[in-house]
């Protein structure tokens, strides 16, 4: 007998998750693409839950489907069904299918026209998402049923929690047309000129709406504490929900450095170090817990960076350097690949220092810097081999231009 697509066999799901964890980056991208073509999301979401940290770094090209567009504003609040608990302002991924199908029947004409416009579109098409979302999200908010839609309990969701989940969805869908551009602009810091009027409107919906909407934006903000300060500064009434949103954000963030290749990890570590620097401004005497949370995050991220440096220093730097030195005419591409690896390692080292000023990571660089310094003075200035300029560039990357200039 065929199984209910809403409830995949747990044993098979575990096997698929295990296979996904072991897949190479290329295999994982192909798997993500194949799962996107499945008509039902339950299995796909279940498998993806096991590899989401890696997928975040790989950034596969995902289709902009109806359900994905619908739940785009709720992204940071979506959790695997097993991690969902009522009362925490989160939405289980298993709610996506029944709520999407309800909308399809409630707003058939709108959904049909919209799906035609989304055909072939990708999640990266942010303008199309904004245009179509502006039609879809408010309509979805209005069309929410008063009782659980068909398929709700079959998805393993208790009926008594529908109202709370629906309220979260309704709030975010109602304000999503304004939140979406704020979210996209978040990586350049809080766009204050747009943030203020948006939250003045959201505030009319009550403090809970402010907390939810801010919570949905903070993971995308380069300076989350700054964003909270802007919203909290709008009025005395907005300060408590803004502070609660920040506390909730702090309790949920992780360095997210796992599963990335070296270059992606360097970028992610730099971003995380900058975010923590911003969050330092949210530390006050009456919030001692925040200080502990930030310190724990610093230690955890610095530890991940140090371990990665130890693992990769030889494999990506000293061993390839030895190969290039032995080659009579190393290819330009090989020299450039070595420089790229050196930049990524240096970036991770810099982030480690910013996260936790112990100097431990610098000790990992010291031997290779000494080796290259010795090399730079005896390598030839011209010819087909690895040259003095190549060594000086490596030294500049790893130790800085002032150190390299002393030999130059």
């Amino acid at each position: 007998m065929a199984r209910d697509p809403l409830n995949p066999d747990p044993r098979i799901l575990r096997e698929l998750q295990s296979a996904a964890r072991q897949a190479t980056n290329g295999q994982l991208l192909r798997l993500a693409s194949a799962l996107d073509d499945l008509p039902h999301r339950a299995v796909a979401e279940g498998v993806m839950d096991a590899v989401r940290p890696r997928l975040r770094h790989l950034r596969p090209s995902r289709p902009l489907s109806l359900s994905r567009l619908l739940f785009l504003p709720l992204d940071p609040l979506l959790v695997a069904p097993g991690d969902w608990r009522p009362g925490r302002g989160l939405v289980p991924r298993s709610a996506i299918l029944p709520m999407t199908e309800h909308l399809r029947s409630a707003e058939f004409a709108l959904v049909t026209a919209l799906e035609a416009r989304l055909a072939g579109a990708k999640l990266t098409d942010v303008v199309l998402a904004a245009e179509q979302g502006a039609l879809l999200w408010p309509a979805a908010s209005r069309a929410l049923p008063r009782s659980p839609p068909a398929g709700w309990e079959e998805a393993g969701l208790p009926g008594q929690h529908f109202a709370a989940v629906a309220k979260i969805c309704a709030t975010l869908w109602r304000h999503a047309p304004v939140l979406w551009p704020l979210r996209l602009a978040g990586r350049d810091g809080p766009p204050e000129a747009t943030l203020r009027p948006a939250f003045r409107v959201i505030a009319a919906d009550g403090p809970e709406a402010v907390e939810l909407c801010l919570g949905a934006l903070l993971p995308y903000a380069a300076q989350p504490a700054c964003m909270v300060a802007v919203v909290a500064g709008l009025s005395q009434a907005l300060a408590p929900p803004a502070e609660r949103a920040l506390d909730r954000y702090l309790s949920g963030i992780t360095p997210g450095l796992e599963g990335a290749d070296l270059e992606a990890m360097a970028d992610a570590a730099a971003r995380f170090a900058r975010t923590l620097k911003d969050l330092d401004s949210a530390l006050t005497r009456d919030k001692p817990k925040r200080s502990q949370q930030l310190q724990a995050l610093r230690m955890s991220a610095a530890q991940s960076c140090s371990e990665r440096l130890e693992q990769e220093m030889a494999r990506r730097l000293t061993e390839p350097l030895a190969v290039l030195l032995a080659a009579p005419a190393p290819a330009d591409a090989a020299v450039e690949a070595l420089e790229q690896a050196a930049m990524a390692l240096r970036g991770i080292g810099d982030s480690t220092r910013r996260l936790h000023a112990s100097g431990a990571s610098e000790r990992l660089f010291a031997p290779v810097i000494a080796q290259i310094t010795a090399l730079a003075v005896r390598l030839p200035a011209s010819g087909a081999g690895f040259l003095r300029a190549d060594a000086l560039r490596l030294l500049e990357i790893l130790a800085g231009s002032q150190v390299a200039a002393r030999l130059g």
Partner: protein, 269 residues
Amino acid sequence: MVELLDPPLLDAFAAASGKPARCAERGVAAPFTTPLLFAARLRLGADQGIEVLVPNPAGREGWFVLPWAAAREALQPSLADQALIGALTTLVADTAELQPLQMRQAARQAASTGLAGRAARRAASGTSPAGAETMRGFAQALNEWLLTCPMEEDRRRAAALAARVASISAAITALKAEAARTDTAFRLAWVLDGWVLLALLWHFSPAEARTAVLRRSMALAPPPADEMLRWPGCADLGRIPGAPALAPQTRFVAPAICEAVLAEWLVIH
């Protein structure tokens, strides 16, 4: 990628005029590989020493003028940038003037040392497409990007920059129509100066850095000298309307992007 600079670092230095009378006063855009120095302008000071003009790091409109020695101390230029200044110093000692042609010669000499990377060393001896084509491509890329930009203020910035780039293209066409003049090449070089660097910066920047690059490009856009505005087809090369205040940024892109720009810039004429 964006890191902030301590604004007081440069506050002690003089401000450059936003409306230079002559090209020599405006200075020539340099293909530096240090992000904070990228597309900074160079000119000869009263003592014939090289001066660096950098956008106001406090985010306000305008440029600061620093002697090169002070810039080297404050901004820690790369070895490649130091080699560029070394080559330029030798060249201008002979001619006592600093023009786009000398900048290109010095950049080729510096790139041939390999200190800007192997791609730049390869490029030091090549040539390819004309700058006018690069400008058309830049304007088109900006106009396409602004359709995907979520923030209204950045769409306005992109539109203003695209309009200015289009006016450069129009000026190039008008100047080329006067090809019989002996100073046409001189004028073309000045009109295009700095803009190819910005076009290539846009081209090589990753999608997620485009907003920061746009804002930085607005600050880096070289102002036309008054004498340029009197050249045929150049009357529209005025100040970009609505040039924004900018957050001070030391690293709006990675040095590797600046090096990629340099390698491509070397072969564009």
